[in-house]
């Protein structure tokens, strides 16, 4: 099944950031979001994940098909690696913990509390969560931050195997992941025009 997005307008807070966003996503394909800082990559991903309802436009999929991973790792500092993973597995009803642990080489981190892990280790744990979601579309915001080259490769293999099983991914990243089936989407052209910046007619009347 193909996923498509048409004429999407997204906002961040009260600011209209993107408009007219449209693309299609076939199973097994990854879209790499590019654009300078502040172009709206995060805004678009949060919109696709259902955290911010779109102002206009439509998506052919429900936010429940999307697994979102943002800048923050979503780990509890006082819980161990295993406890963090078990919690997310229970939330998503998944039994894939062992696969995720093997994929990101987390064996040594299972008994350690997240507060005693390095930034890269926490990031790996956060990415392992994606494998527990069992969702078709991965919406990833700068997933490789604080990963070393070996773990970037590990992550790329993980995305590849997700694509190979018919999944899709939308990834905002500035580095080349070396994914074979990736298309680049530049967010720049979708920037909302300055005239439509103001959202709230009530506020406009006030000013």
């Amino acid at each position: 099944m193909e996923f498509s997005v048409e004429g999407l307008a997204c906002r961040r807070g009260e600011l209209r950031v993107l408009e007219g966003v449209g693309f299609t996503l076939t199973p097994g394909e990854a879209v790499i979001l590019r654009g300078p800082n502040g172009a709206g990559k995060t805004t678009l991903l949060r919109c696709l994940a259902g955290l911010t309802p779109p102002l206009e436009g439509k998506m052919s999929f429900s936010p429940d098909d999307v697994a979102y991973a943002g800048h923050l790792d979503g780990l509890k500092a006082q819980l161990t690696g295993a406890e963090n993973l078990r919690f997310w597995a229970a939330i998503y009803g998944s039994d894939q913990i062992d696969t995720a642990v093997a994929q990101f080489d987390l064996e040594g981190l299972l008994d350690r509390q997240a507060q005693h892990m390095s930034a890269g280790q926490k990031r790996r744990l956060a990415l392992a969560r994606l494998m527990l979601t069992g969702r078709k579309i991965w919406a990833l915001d700068e997933p490789t931050v604080s990963l070393d080259t070996q773990n970037v490769a590990r992550f790329a293999r993980c995305v590849e195997s997700h694509l190979a099983t018919g999944g899709s991914a939308i990834i905002a990243t500035h580095i080349d992941l070396g994914l074979p089936n990736a298309r680049v989407l530049d967010v720049g052209p979708f920037k909302a025009s300055a005239a439509s910046d103001q959202l709230d007619p009530f506020l406009e009347d006030m000013i």
Partner: protein
């Protein structure tokens, strides 16, 4: 949902989790009151119902800003909001976890602290009943306040200002139940009203909390 409740309870017990903070505050308040108002036993017995209820209410308030703020700061709340669990369930579980870590211990220890305030022994049954029926409303209202202020740094003061007025009906009927119990008057009417407030709160507030979370995560 059980996993979330378990996680919240484990986090509350582990270092820095804040379990016992409300209880310690309650204890300190009740111990200090006799020093402040003097040792007259009749006076203490007269103000005991009010003091115990105000103490319970203030100690509930202490831990409210942690309910969503910690999950918000480390990104867990974003992920929970996109998870299969409805936000209404999240709100209910969060309120339940807050009640288990504050309201329940307060209810169980209040009779012992009542001794310090010379609360008549026969009022204890009313004290336990009113706290058991009233504190769930405090947790549900507090969770709503926490959801309204979730994006704000150090929103504790704002939560207190938002939530305290909503606590007033619970306080009035809770303290009234204990006062009547202490004076040997029939206390069922205020207790029923208290239970009614709690039932209404528990029915409505999870939806309001979820709506507030949705608005704040945008």
């Amino acid at each position: 949902m059980i996993a979330l409740l378990r996680r919240d309870l484990i986090l509350a017990i582990r270092a820095g989790g804040g379990f016992g903070l409300g209880l310690a505050f309650f204890l300190i308040l009740v111990v200090l009151v006799p020093f402040g108002v003097g040792p007259s036993q009749a006076m203490l017995a007269a103000i005991a119902p009010g003091i115990l209820w105000i103490g319970a209410l203030l100690s509930c308030l202490l831990s409210l800003d942690r309910i969503f703020q910690l999950d918000y700061e480390d990104g867990t709340l974003d992920i929970l909001a996109t998870s299969p669990m409805p936000l209404e369930a999240l709100a209910t579980i969060k309120a339940l976890a807050h009640w288990i870590t504050t309201g329940l211990p307060l209810t169980l220890t209040a009779p012992f602290l009542g001794i310090l305030l010379n609360l008549p022994w026969e009022a204890n049954i009313w004290l336990i009943a009113s706290l058991a029926l009233g504190t769930p409303a405090l947790s549900a209202l507090g969770t709503f306040g926490a959801a309204l202020t979730v994006g704000l740094k150090r929103g504790g003061l704002l939560i207190s200002l938002l939530v305290l007025p909503l606590y007033v009906p619970t306080l009035i009927f809770g303290a009234e139940t204990v006062r009547r119990g202490a004076e040997g008057l029939p206390a069922t009417t205020p207790l029923m009203l208290l239970a009614g407030i709690t039932a209404g709160t528990l029915a409505i507030l999870p939806f309001a909390t979820a709506a507030a979370l949705r608005a704040n995560l945008r």
